[in-house]
């Protein structure tokens, strides 16, 4: 009766083999590497680049241990981190203009393992070192910005439609337009309602003053917030690429938050600097009458500014801002009619209107496209306006090659944050601490496992050994599962692993105590084993399900490192149910199920007088 059908043994054997296979990559360790990947789509990583990189390394006498060429990039392995960092700096100087050159760690496991997806566990930042930021998008700021824009648009629309108004004001969440007579207000409602679909208009009379109150519709507000967060994420992603981080994580967290994780980054100052940049785009007119030489000597004409031009040179630019980067919906590199590199910019409706007007009024003059970054304004390009440009498609061409065109397109597309952002949480872990944490977590689990094993083996003798083997397979399944799922392992996660060892043994203790109970009550050895497993099952399920409940609670409400603990705890419970019951039972059945037993090798049992009288 203590026999398993063959298929059960096969299932168990296969799962143990799979567990072993997927746990194995964790023991090969990792070696420092430099990863070269293209900065923009369309740039190839090919043999030529690889040869160039190898040549550069040879020139500088930096030994490397092998290279991998993949479609996504090149990886070069080094034996120590010193060489790795030197190589990164040199390669960055040589090929860094078109490629991201980043430090990375490569698993040392054989190639075929990587092909079947057998990777080491994905270590969290507290174990590998790096920076974690949580940024909050300032929605109030985004709203103010949007209202400011609407304010200007409403004003110009009213002027175009020749509707007289007595002033436009913005308060915290709405725009108030005053009118002198009812007729003008009526006309304004019908005209503005047509143009501004995202605004809700309401008439209001305060102290005999005729007002029209415009507010952003709730659904438009939600859309605006979502776009703001999405655009900020895109912007951040482009900026992180500049940092040269191998596996950055940039994701939305909640309605208005963004998480940025940069493994391996130590220079937090630079990271913050780049993430926190508030670049904006502006279109202004060039003051061509001004004396640039006089300006360079220090006498800048009023209403203008002396600005440096990309690629050298200076320009006098008028202070009045005609158009801002918020109006850009897209920017793509391409070519103009003369086969010159150009950037094609698409503007939104209001942007197109403003641009049409400004080009009509300024044919033959130069306009300047500026990038404002941390209060430093730079002229990206200052083309001559050849004709009126309508339809919202703008072509920027000038002294650019195709690579510059790509850069400008990138900057225009993602140069500006849609809304200001603030860092509200930062966790930085140095690499030495990361390594220490791994060791600590590993030792806690190892020594915990060893001491429990010794105790259980002494206490329950041969059955105890089986319990310990089951516990070991539990750990194997847990690590294998974490490796397959590539769930993030944190230090609390490793604590969860240790805790799983301590809690998983409960199931086997329950079973073993039950077997002893049955023996004490006079059951035959085989019957005792059978009843022990059967009767302990209820309690095992109950105890594990309640702990699982706590784990799920932690997963739902926990954040960051705590979530890591919760994931390991929950997975640990699932593996416990399998290994403590099925695997240990299979072993017992295999060793003892098929023969006559005179006793169960479960250690000496005290037989109590009371128990025989009770039954």
């Amino acid at each position: 009766m203590n026999r398993y059908p063959l298929w059960k043994y096969i299932v168990i054997a296969v799962s143990i083999l799979l567990g072993l296979l997927y746990t194995l990559p964790n023991f090969f360790g990792e070696s420092p590497a430099v990863q070269i990947s293209p900065l923009r789509a369309g740039i190839q990583t090919d043999m030529a680049l690889l040869q160039r990189a190898e040549q550069v390394l040879k020139q500088h006498g930096l030994p490397y241990n092998g290279t991998i060429l993949e479609s996504t990039g090149i990886k070069i392995r080094f034996s120590d981190t010193d060489t790795q960092i030197k190589a990164r700096d040199i390669l960055d100087a040589e090929v860094g203009s078109d490629y991201i050159v980043a430090l990375n760690l490569l698993p040392n496991s054989p190639q075929w393992m990587r092909h079947i997806g057998a990777l080491p566990m994905y270590l969290g930042l507290d174990l590998r070192g790096g920076v974690h930021f949580m940024l909050q998008v300032d929605m109030a700021g985004a709203l103010t910005k949007a209202l400011d824009r609407y304010n200007a648009d409403l004003r110009s629309t009213l002027r175009e439609q020749r509707i007289p108004s007595a002033g436009i004001d913005r308060d915290r969440s709405r725009i108030i337009i005053k009118f002198r007579d009812e007729q003008a207000r009526e006309k304004a409602i019908s005209e503005l309602g047509k143009t501004f679909e995202d605004l809700a208009f309401r008439s209001e009379d305060v102290n005999g003053e005729r007002r029209l109150v415009a507010s952003i519709k709730p659904e438009a507000l939600i859309r605006m917030q979502n776009t703001a967060v999405q655009r900020n994420i895109t912007t951040l992603r482009n900026r992180v690429n500049e940092l040269g981080v191998a596996e950055p994580i940039i994701q939305q967290a909640g309605a208005d938050r963004v998480i940025v994780q940069l493994p391996g980054v130590q220079d937090t100052a630079k990271a913050k600097d780049i993430l926190g940049r508030t670049a904006t785009l502006e279109v202004r007119m060039v003051d061509e009458d001004g004396d640039i030489d006089a300006a360079l000597r220090g006498s800048v004409p009023s209403g203008t500014e002396l600005l440096s031009e990309r690629g050298g040179g200076h320009l006098l630019v008028k202070k009045q801002v005609l158009l801002t980067g918020d109006r850009i919906t897209d920017a793509q590199p391409g070519f103009d009619q003369d086969r010159q590199a150009a950037v094609h910019v698409t503007l939104d409706n209001n942007g197109s209107r403003i641009f049409k007007q400004l080009t009509r009024n300024n044919v033959g003059k130069r306009m300047a496209i500026l990038l404002v970054e941390k209060n430093v304004t730079e002229v990206v390009t200052a083309p001559v306006i050849r004709e009126e440009i309508g339809g919202g498609r703008v072509q920027i061409s000038g002294q650019m090659n195709s690579i510059e065109a790509r850069d400008v397109a990138l900057l225009l597309r993602a140069g500006a944050l849609a809304a200001p952002m603030e860092i509200i949480e930062e966790r930085t872990v140095g690499p030495s601490l990361g390594a220490e944490n791994i060791e600590r977590g590993f030792n806690s689990t190892l020594y915990g496992f060893l001491i429990v094993s010794v105790f259980i083996m002494i206490y329950y003798s041969a059955i105890g050994v089986i319990s310990v083997v089951a516990l070991a397979t539990n750990l194997l399944f847990l690590i294998g599962l974490l490796s397959i799922l590539q769930a993030t392992l944190t230090l609390p996660g490793m604590a969860g692993m240790a805790l799983t060892v301590g809690m998983a043994i409960d199931a086997n203790v329950l079973i073993n105590e039950r077997i002893r109970d049955e023996l004490r009550h006079g059951a035959t050895p085989q019957a005792a084993i059978h009843a022990g497993y059967e009767r302990a099952w209820d309690a095992i399920i109950d105890t594990n399900l309640t702990t699982l409940l706590a784990g799920l609670g932690l997963m739902m409400f926990g954040s960051g490192p705590i979530k890591g603990f919760a994931v390991v705890l929950c997975l640990g419970i699932l593996t416990t149910l399998f290994s403590a019951v099925t695997v240990s039972r299979a072993m017992v059945n295999l060793f003892y199920g098929n023969r006559k037993l005179t006793h169960v090798p479960i250690g000496a049992i005290k037989i109590l007088k009371k128990s025989s009288s009770k039954r």
Binding site: I424, R440, A498, V501, V509, L510, T543, L552, L554
Partner: protein
């Protein structure tokens, strides 16, 4: 080997009065400490900045304090951490350093004095995040408690759920009370430990309840008191071995896990010890108090204990 076997049932329920009184005192003390002293909440919850830095030689804390005071941070708490070369700096939330560039300012100032100083860890939590984490922690606790009561009510009976959760919350209160009384730092990992204990302590009550149900079927003539006593005595061996094993692992964590897991292991230790005590000495008297009886668990229409043996 077979310890923890007893010739006669131990009259746990008879000690109920004493244990209830003892627990009541403990709980009142814990609540008193929590209301007067409060918890020593870590930066996770209060917001602020924690930095761990490491010097090449034993650190001069006074000098570090002076440097910090020099850049207007006289409210910094500077203390050794782990070894004499490692220093931990705590800074409250500063409005003028929004966006978390505080750590850079500090590092720059410290590097002027000693270029070899190395930054090991920085944690900056904005005040808005801290409040949220605390709120989420309490929500999680509520969710888990309700889940456990519901589960036990379905699996056994509502009286068991109530008895169990009272015992559990008593454990949680004791952990919180200890952390408050000794002013140990209460951070996110401790919160995780508290929640893990909430789930783990139930095990005890589940195993005992399971046995009580079985006894109700088996020992038809016995009084409720005897049945509970017998159930606890019979499962005693398992209780001690299981918790002993878990405690061994926790001790291993305490010894080898470093500072980061120190308080986590501490909270688990208190939770495990009081978990054993409360599920034996608190849950059972409450069960009796609530008037648990045979009919609650052994439904008449159910078949009598089916024999598992063929």
């Amino acid at each position: 080997m077979d310890f923890f076997r007893f010739e006669r049932d131990i009259p746990f329920t008879r000690w109920g009065k004493f244990s209830m009184t003892f627990s009541l005192i403990i709980s009142i003390l814990a609540i008193y400490s929590l209301t007067t002293k409060g918890l020593n909440l870590a930066v996770d919850f209060t917001g602020g900045t924690v930095m761990e830095i490491s010097y090449q030689q034993p650190a001069n804390l006074d000098k570090t304090r002076k440097i910090l005071a020099g850049i207007g941070m006289s409210d910094a708490i500077v203390q050794n951490f782990g070894t004499s070369r490692d220093v931990m700096i705590r800074l409250p939330v500063k409005l003028e350093h929004a966006g978390g560039n505080l750590s850079e300012t500090v590092m720059t100032a410290l590097k002027v004095d000693d270029p070899s100083v190395e930054m090991k860890r920085v944690e900056f939590v904005g005040p808005q995040v801290g409040d949220e984490l605390l709120e989420n922690g309490l929500l999680a606790m509520l969710f888990v408690s309700m889940g456990i009561v519901a589960y036990l009510a379905v699996r056994f009976e509502w009286k068991f759920g109530v008895a169990c959760i009272v015992a559990n919350l008593h454990d949680v209160l004791t952990i919180l009370g200890c952390f408050s009384f000794f002013q140990w730092e209460f951070d996110l990992t401790v919160l995780a430990a508290v929640l893990a204990i909430l789930g783990y302590s139930v095990n005890e009550s589940v195993v005992i309840s399971d046995r009580i149900r079985e006894n109700f079927r088996k020992l038809r003539k016995a009084t409720v008191t005897r049945i509970i006593d017998n159930a606890i005595t019979e499962t005693m061996s398992r209780t001690i071995i299981t918790h002993g094993s878990t405690q061994m692992v926790v001790i291993s964590m305490f010894l080898f896990g470093g500072e980061a897991l120190h308080n986590f292991a501490l909270a688990l230790t208190i939770g495990i010890l009081f978990g054993i005590y409360s599920s034996i000495m608190i849950a059972s008297p409450i069960l009796l108090l609530l008037g648990a009886k045979r009919e609650d668990l052994v439904k008449p229409e159910r078949k009598p204990q089916e024999e598992a043996l063929p």
